[in-house]
Amino acid sequence: MSAVTVSARRGADGQAGPRRLPWRRMAGVTWRQHRLALAGVVVLLGALAVLLWVTGLPLHRAWAAAIACHPASSPGCQDLIGNFGASATGGGKTQGILLQVVPALIGAFAGAPVLARELETGTFRFAWTQGFARWRWALAKLVALPVILAALTAAFGVLVSWYYQPYAGGGPAGLYQNSPFGDLFSLREVTFPAWTVAAFAIAALAGMLIRRVVPAIVATLAVYAGLAFAAASFLREHYLTPLVTTSLELPGTSTAWVISQWFTKDGRFAFGGNPPLNILNQYCSGGKGAGPSFAPCLAPHGYTQWTSFQPASRLWPFQWIEGGWLLGLSAAIIAVTIWLVARRAA
C-alpha cells in the first residue's frame, strides 16, 4: 500500500507534491554547521574529565585503603581514615559547585546559535527556502543535537558518580556519609544529560524569540539558574512522599536527606524545627541539649521528635523523576520552538 503511494508520487514530479527528502540528509548538514560547537563541548568535558580523574584517583586510593582496613578502630586504620579525610577535604564540595554551571554552559552555547545565528545573520532566508521543509529542518537539528549532547554528558555523569563514590561512603565511621541528594545530585548519569538537554531547549527557544546569539545565551543562563534553584529548593523534596520516623537514628544513618523535623506532645503538634527558647531553658539547660538534636532532653518531658526524610535508597527513583520531567519540559519547549519556526513571520 505504502509502496504504491511512494512510487506514484515519484512519478508525478512536482505538481502532486514531491516525496519528502529523507531525514538522513540533515545529518551532514547538522554536522557541518555545528561541528565547532560539538568539538567545544568535547574539549570542555574532556578537560573536566581529566581534572576529575586526576583528583579522583588519589582520593579513591585513600578511600579504598581506609575501608579495607580491619579492625577500623586500630591506630593504623585511624591513620588511613585520617589520610582519606585530608585528601578529600573541600574538593568534592568545590567541584560540585563549579560543575553546576557546566550543563547550563553546554546547553546555552550549543543551543542558542541553532536558530539565533540564522536569524541574526539572515541565513534563515537561505536555509528555510530550500526543498527541505523548514519545520523538518528545525526538528532534525533540535533532536539530533540534544541526543548527541545527552550521550556525551551521560558519559561524563558516570565519571562524576565514580568521583563521588568516596564521599557517599558506607564503611567504618569517620568516613564521609554525604547524602546523595546534595550538590552532585544534578550531575549524575541521568540528571546531567537531562539538565543539559533542558538548557539546550531553553537556549533554542530563547534564540528563536530573541533572534540574537549573545542575549539568547544570557537569557538561557538566567532562566536555567531560576529553574535549577527552584528544582533544588522546592521541587526535589516532593518527588516522592517523604518517610516519617520518630527514631532518632535515621535508617541509612546520615546519608538520608532530612526534609523537616517537628515535635509533638500528647499526640498534638508542639513546634516545628528547633525548640523555642522558653522550652529549651525549661528542659534543656545544663548542657543536656547540646548539639543539633534536642530530642534526648525533651523526650523525658513527653515530647516526641518526628523527622520526615528521603532515604538514600531513593537516589535512582529521584534521578529518573528529575530526568523525566526535565526531558518532558525540554520536549515541550522544542515543540514550541519548531512551531514558531514553522509559522514565523520573516
Partner: protein
Amino acid sequence: MNVVEASGLGKRYGRTWALRECTLQIPAGRVTALVGPNGAGKTTLLNLAVGLTPPSAGEVTVLGGRRAGSPAALDGIAFVAQDTPLYKGLSVADMLFITRSLNRRFDQPYAHARLAELGIPLRRRAGKLSGGQQAQLALTLALARRPQLLVLDEPVAALDPVARHDFMATVLSAAAAEGVSVLLSSHVLTELERVASYLVLMSRGQVRLAGAVDDLLAAHGQASLEELALRYLRETAPEVAR
C-alpha cells in the same frame, strides 16, 4: 502558467501594512522586474512568494497553484535573498554540500564548472570571498538546484559595476538557456532596462502597474522603462502621500 499569483494579498507588521490588496499574475518564462523605491513592499512581496512569511490577508500561490512556502513550491523555487546570506564560516564545498542535501535536485557538475569559471576555490571559506564572489556563489547554489523560478531580492544593490554586470549576465543566460523564470526586485532602474520583459511597479505597499514591458511602453508612450517608471512613480506620489 503563472509563476506567481496573488489575490488580495496583504502583509501587516504591527499596525503598518507593508503590502496591501495585492492582486497580481506574473507569467512564466519571463524576467520580471519588481521595481519601486525603498520601502515600497518589494521584499515583503518576495518573502510572501517564497513562503518565508505568512500573509496577513489574501493568498499567494506559485508555479501554477502551489501554496507559497509548501515543499512542492520550494522544490521549484530558488531564492537569493538580499545581501546573499551564506554561512560565512563554512567553506564553499560545505555550502555546496548543504544545498545539495537540502534539495531533491542539485546539479553538482554545473556548480563545480561555474565556480571554476569564476575562480572561486572550493576550500575557501564563504566569508573570505569578495562581495561579488559571494553573490556569484549564492547565485550558483540557486541555479544548481535547477529551479523553475529564480527569485532575487535586490541582487546587485551591494555590488560594484563589474560584479553587477557579471551577475546579471549569469542570470540572463540561465533565463535564456534553461528557460528559468526570473523574478527580481531592484530600486536601481537602469539595471533593468536590458533584462526585464515584464514589469511590476510598486510604491507604498501597493502594486501600481503590472504588465509586459513592451505593452506598457506602447500604452504609456514612453521610450524606456526608466522613463516610464519614473513618470509613473511621480504621478502616483501625490495620491500616495494622501
